[in-house]
Amino acid sequence: VSSLDDYLEQLRRALPAGSRPDVLAEVEDHLRESSAVHGEEEALARFGPCGAAPHERWPQGPFPAGVASKQDAIMVLFLVAGTLAVAGAAAAARRRVRLALALLAGGQASLVLYAITYARNGGHRAPSSSSARTPREGPA
Protein backbone atom coordinates (compact mmCIF):
# COMPACT_ATOMS: atom_id res chain seq x y z
CA VAL A 1 0.00 0.00 0.00
CA SER A 2 1.55 3.29 -1.08
CA SER A 3 1.37 6.48 0.94
CA LEU A 4 -0.94 7.83 -1.75
CA ASP A 5 -3.35 4.96 -1.12
CA ASP A 6 -3.12 5.67 2.60
CA TYR A 7 -3.83 9.31 2.01
CA LEU A 8 -6.91 8.57 -0.08
CA GLU A 9 -8.20 6.21 2.57
CA GLN A 10 -7.72 8.88 5.24
CA LEU A 11 -9.52 11.40 3.07
CA ARG A 12 -12.35 8.95 2.50
CA ARG A 13 -12.75 8.63 6.24
CA ALA A 14 -12.51 12.39 6.78
CA LEU A 15 -15.17 13.31 4.24
CA PRO A 16 -18.54 14.18 5.76
CA ALA A 17 -21.40 11.76 5.28
CA GLY A 18 -23.22 12.49 2.06
CA SER A 19 -20.17 13.82 0.27
CA ARG A 20 -20.09 13.44 -3.46
CA PRO A 21 -18.84 9.92 -4.16
CA ASP A 22 -16.69 11.13 -7.04
CA VAL A 23 -14.57 13.38 -4.82
CA LEU A 24 -12.04 10.64 -4.21
CA ALA A 25 -11.73 9.85 -7.91
CA GLU A 26 -11.02 13.50 -8.61
CA VAL A 27 -8.46 13.78 -5.82
CA GLU A 28 -6.81 10.54 -6.93
CA ASP A 29 -6.49 11.85 -10.49
CA HIS A 30 -4.95 15.06 -9.17
CA LEU A 31 -2.48 13.27 -6.91
CA ARG A 32 -1.38 10.86 -9.62
CA GLU A 33 -0.75 13.73 -12.02
CA SER A 34 1.06 15.71 -9.35
CA SER A 35 3.08 12.66 -8.30
CA ALA A 36 4.25 12.18 -11.87
CA VAL A 37 5.67 15.71 -11.80
CA HIS A 38 6.81 16.19 -8.21
CA GLY A 39 7.00 12.71 -6.75
CA GLU A 40 4.47 11.15 -4.41
CA GLU A 41 5.72 12.67 -1.17
CA GLU A 42 5.84 16.19 -2.55
CA ALA A 43 2.44 15.76 -4.20
CA LEU A 44 0.87 14.83 -0.88
CA ALA A 45 2.57 17.73 0.89
CA ARG A 46 1.29 20.14 -1.74
CA PHE A 47 -2.24 18.82 -1.41
CA GLY A 48 -2.23 19.50 2.32
CA PRO A 49 -3.78 17.73 5.29
CA CYS A 50 -6.94 15.81 4.60
CA GLY A 51 -8.13 15.14 8.12
CA ALA A 52 -9.27 17.13 11.09
CA ALA A 53 -8.76 20.67 9.83
CA PRO A 54 -9.61 20.89 6.15
CA HIS A 55 -9.15 24.34 4.68
CA GLU A 56 -12.62 24.23 3.30
CA ARG A 57 -15.51 21.99 4.16
CA TRP A 58 -16.27 19.57 1.39
CA PRO A 59 -19.80 20.30 0.20
CA GLN A 60 -22.44 17.67 0.53
CA GLY A 61 -23.40 15.68 -2.52
CA PRO A 62 -26.86 15.15 -3.92
CA PHE A 63 -27.62 12.43 -1.42
CA PRO A 64 -28.98 13.15 2.07
CA ALA A 65 -26.78 12.55 5.11
CA GLY A 66 -26.75 8.89 6.00
CA VAL A 67 -26.83 7.86 2.35
CA ALA A 68 -23.15 8.36 1.89
CA SER A 69 -22.57 6.80 -1.47
CA LYS A 70 -24.24 6.39 -4.79
CA GLN A 71 -24.18 2.66 -4.33
CA ASP A 72 -26.22 3.08 -1.15
CA ALA A 73 -28.66 5.32 -2.94
CA ILE A 74 -29.03 2.83 -5.79
CA MET A 75 -29.72 0.05 -3.35
CA VAL A 76 -32.31 2.06 -1.43
CA LEU A 77 -34.09 3.29 -4.54
CA PHE A 78 -34.22 -0.14 -6.14
CA LEU A 79 -35.49 -1.56 -2.88
CA VAL A 80 -38.26 1.03 -2.80
CA ALA A 81 -39.07 0.53 -6.48
CA GLY A 82 -39.07 -3.23 -6.18
CA THR A 83 -41.26 -3.21 -3.10
CA LEU A 84 -43.76 -0.91 -4.75
CA ALA A 85 -43.78 -2.99 -7.92
CA VAL A 86 -44.41 -6.23 -6.01
CA ALA A 87 -47.12 -4.59 -3.95
CA GLY A 88 -48.64 -3.23 -7.15
CA ALA A 89 -48.63 -6.63 -8.79
CA ALA A 90 -50.25 -8.16 -5.72
CA ALA A 91 -52.88 -5.45 -5.71
CA ALA A 92 -53.53 -6.00 -9.41
CA ALA A 93 -54.00 -9.69 -8.80
CA ARG A 94 -56.79 -8.77 -6.43
CA ARG A 95 -58.28 -6.49 -9.11
CA ARG A 96 -57.39 -3.35 -7.18
CA VAL A 97 -56.20 -1.72 -10.36
CA ARG A 98 -56.08 1.88 -9.17
CA LEU A 99 -53.93 1.01 -6.18
CA ALA A 100 -51.69 -1.12 -8.37
CA LEU A 101 -51.23 1.69 -10.85
CA ALA A 102 -50.43 4.13 -8.04
CA LEU A 103 -47.83 1.82 -6.55
CA LEU A 104 -46.25 1.10 -9.91
CA ALA A 105 -46.15 4.84 -10.61
CA GLY A 106 -44.34 5.26 -7.28
CA GLY A 107 -41.81 2.66 -8.35
CA GLN A 108 -41.28 4.42 -11.64
CA ALA A 109 -40.86 7.75 -9.82
CA SER A 110 -38.15 6.17 -7.66
CA LEU A 111 -36.28 5.06 -10.74
CA VAL A 112 -36.57 8.53 -12.30
CA LEU A 113 -35.26 10.04 -9.06
CA TYR A 114 -32.31 7.66 -9.22
CA ALA A 115 -31.62 8.62 -12.84
CA ILE A 116 -31.66 12.31 -11.94
CA THR A 117 -29.30 11.92 -8.99
CA TYR A 118 -27.02 9.74 -11.10
CA ALA A 119 -26.92 12.34 -13.87
CA ARG A 120 -26.30 15.18 -11.42
CA ASN A 121 -23.41 13.20 -10.05
CA GLY A 122 -21.71 12.98 -13.41
CA GLY A 123 -22.56 9.33 -13.94
CA HIS A 124 -19.39 8.41 -12.17
CA ARG A 125 -18.72 5.47 -9.88
CA ALA A 126 -17.03 5.92 -6.56
CA PRO A 127 -13.30 5.16 -6.67
CA SER A 128 -12.28 1.57 -6.86
CA SER A 129 -11.43 -0.38 -3.77
CA SER A 130 -7.79 -0.39 -4.88
CA SER A 131 -7.44 2.96 -3.12
CA ALA A 132 -9.54 2.02 -0.12
CA ARG A 133 -7.40 -0.52 1.62
CA THR A 134 -6.75 -0.72 5.29
CA PRO A 135 -4.69 2.32 6.34
CA ARG A 136 -1.64 2.14 8.55
CA GLU A 137 -2.99 5.00 10.63
CA GLY A 138 -6.21 6.96 11.10
CA PRO A 139 -7.15 10.33 9.70
CA ALA A 140 -4.66 13.16 10.23
Binding site: E26, P54, H55, E56, G122
Partner: protein, 105 residues
Protein backbone atom coordinates in the same frame (compact mmCIF):
# COMPACT_ATOMS: atom_id res chain seq x y z
CA UNK B 1 0.61 33.98 0.54
CA UNK B 2 -2.58 32.92 2.31
CA UNK B 3 -5.51 34.74 0.78
CA UNK B 4 -8.81 35.36 2.53
CA UNK B 5 -11.33 32.69 1.62
CA UNK B 6 -13.63 35.10 -0.21
CA UNK B 7 -10.96 35.97 -2.74
CA UNK B 8 -10.41 32.35 -3.70
CA UNK B 9 -13.81 32.21 -5.37
CA UNK B 10 -12.99 35.21 -7.54
CA UNK B 11 -9.58 33.79 -8.42
CA UNK B 12 -11.03 30.42 -9.39
CA UNK B 13 -13.66 32.03 -11.59
CA UNK B 14 -10.96 34.17 -13.21
CA UNK B 15 -8.74 31.15 -13.81
CA UNK B 16 -11.57 29.51 -15.74
CA UNK B 17 -12.39 32.61 -17.76
CA UNK B 18 -10.25 31.46 -20.68
CA UNK B 19 -12.00 28.13 -20.98
CA UNK B 20 -12.61 24.78 -19.30
CA UNK B 21 -9.86 23.29 -17.17
CA UNK B 22 -9.42 20.50 -14.64
CA UNK B 23 -8.52 21.20 -11.03
CA UNK B 24 -4.81 20.57 -11.39
CA UNK B 25 -4.63 23.03 -14.30
CA UNK B 26 -6.62 25.64 -12.36
CA UNK B 27 -4.11 25.41 -9.52
CA UNK B 28 -1.23 25.78 -11.97
CA UNK B 29 -2.86 28.82 -13.54
CA UNK B 30 -3.31 30.53 -10.17
CA UNK B 31 0.30 29.83 -9.23
CA UNK B 32 1.76 30.87 -12.58
CA UNK B 33 -0.30 34.01 -13.12
CA UNK B 34 0.44 35.25 -9.60
CA UNK B 35 4.15 34.60 -9.97
CA UNK B 36 3.93 32.00 -7.23
CA UNK B 37 2.15 34.29 -4.76
CA UNK B 38 -1.07 32.25 -4.73
CA UNK B 39 0.35 28.88 -3.85
CA UNK B 40 -2.66 27.40 -2.09
CA UNK B 41 -2.67 24.03 -0.41
CA UNK B 42 -4.05 22.15 -3.38
CA UNK B 43 -6.58 20.30 -1.26
CA UNK B 44 -8.34 23.57 -0.48
CA UNK B 45 -9.15 24.27 -4.11
CA UNK B 46 -11.41 21.29 -4.82
CA UNK B 47 -13.96 21.99 -2.08
CA UNK B 48 -14.09 25.56 -3.35
CA UNK B 49 -14.67 24.38 -6.92
CA UNK B 50 -17.44 22.09 -5.72
CA UNK B 51 -19.01 24.90 -3.72
CA UNK B 52 -18.98 27.18 -6.76
CA UNK B 53 -20.58 24.42 -8.78
CA UNK B 54 -23.29 23.94 -6.18
CA UNK B 55 -24.00 27.68 -6.43
CA UNK B 56 -24.45 27.32 -10.17
CA UNK B 57 -21.38 29.39 -11.05
CA UNK B 58 -19.50 26.43 -12.53
CA UNK B 59 -20.47 23.22 -14.22
CA UNK B 60 -18.32 20.15 -14.46
CA UNK B 61 -18.14 17.01 -16.50
CA UNK B 62 -15.97 13.93 -16.70
CA UNK B 63 -13.79 13.25 -19.70
CA UNK B 64 -11.02 10.82 -20.53
CA UNK B 65 -7.44 11.96 -21.02
CA UNK B 66 -4.37 9.76 -21.30
CA UNK B 67 -6.39 6.79 -20.16
CA UNK B 68 -7.61 8.56 -17.02
CA UNK B 69 -11.02 9.95 -16.21
CA UNK B 70 -10.81 13.59 -15.29
CA UNK B 71 -13.30 16.19 -14.08
CA UNK B 72 -13.24 19.43 -16.05
CA UNK B 73 -14.82 22.68 -14.87
CA UNK B 74 -16.17 25.59 -16.86
CA UNK B 75 -18.01 28.81 -16.12
CA UNK B 76 -21.77 28.90 -16.45
CA UNK B 77 -23.58 31.98 -17.71
CA UNK B 78 -24.26 32.84 -14.08
CA UNK B 79 -20.57 32.34 -13.32
CA UNK B 80 -19.52 34.67 -16.11
CA UNK B 81 -21.85 37.33 -14.75
CA UNK B 82 -20.58 36.79 -11.20
CA UNK B 83 -16.98 37.03 -12.36
CA UNK B 84 -17.68 40.35 -14.08
CA UNK B 85 -19.43 41.74 -11.05
CA UNK B 86 -16.85 40.52 -8.55
CA UNK B 87 -13.94 41.69 -10.69
CA UNK B 88 -15.48 45.14 -10.94
CA UNK B 89 -16.00 45.29 -7.16
CA UNK B 90 -12.43 44.17 -6.57
CA UNK B 91 -10.97 46.75 -8.96
CA UNK B 92 -13.02 49.46 -7.27
CA UNK B 93 -11.79 48.34 -3.87
CA UNK B 94 -8.16 48.05 -5.01
CA UNK B 95 -8.36 51.43 -6.67
CA UNK B 96 -9.60 52.99 -3.46
CA UNK B 97 -6.76 51.43 -1.49
CA UNK B 98 -4.26 52.68 -4.08
CA UNK B 99 -5.70 56.16 -3.77
CA UNK B 100 -5.28 56.14 -0.01
CA UNK B 101 -1.74 54.81 -0.30
CA UNK B 102 -0.78 57.22 -3.07
CA UNK B 103 0.66 59.78 -0.71
CA UNK B 104 2.91 57.29 1.08
CA UNK B 105 6.48 57.09 -0.10
Amino acid sequence: MREPRGHLDLLLLAALADGPAHGYRVIELLRDRSGGAFDYPEGSVYPALHRLESRGLLRSGWSSASGRRRRTYELTRKGIAALGSEAQSWRHFAGAIDSVLAGIA
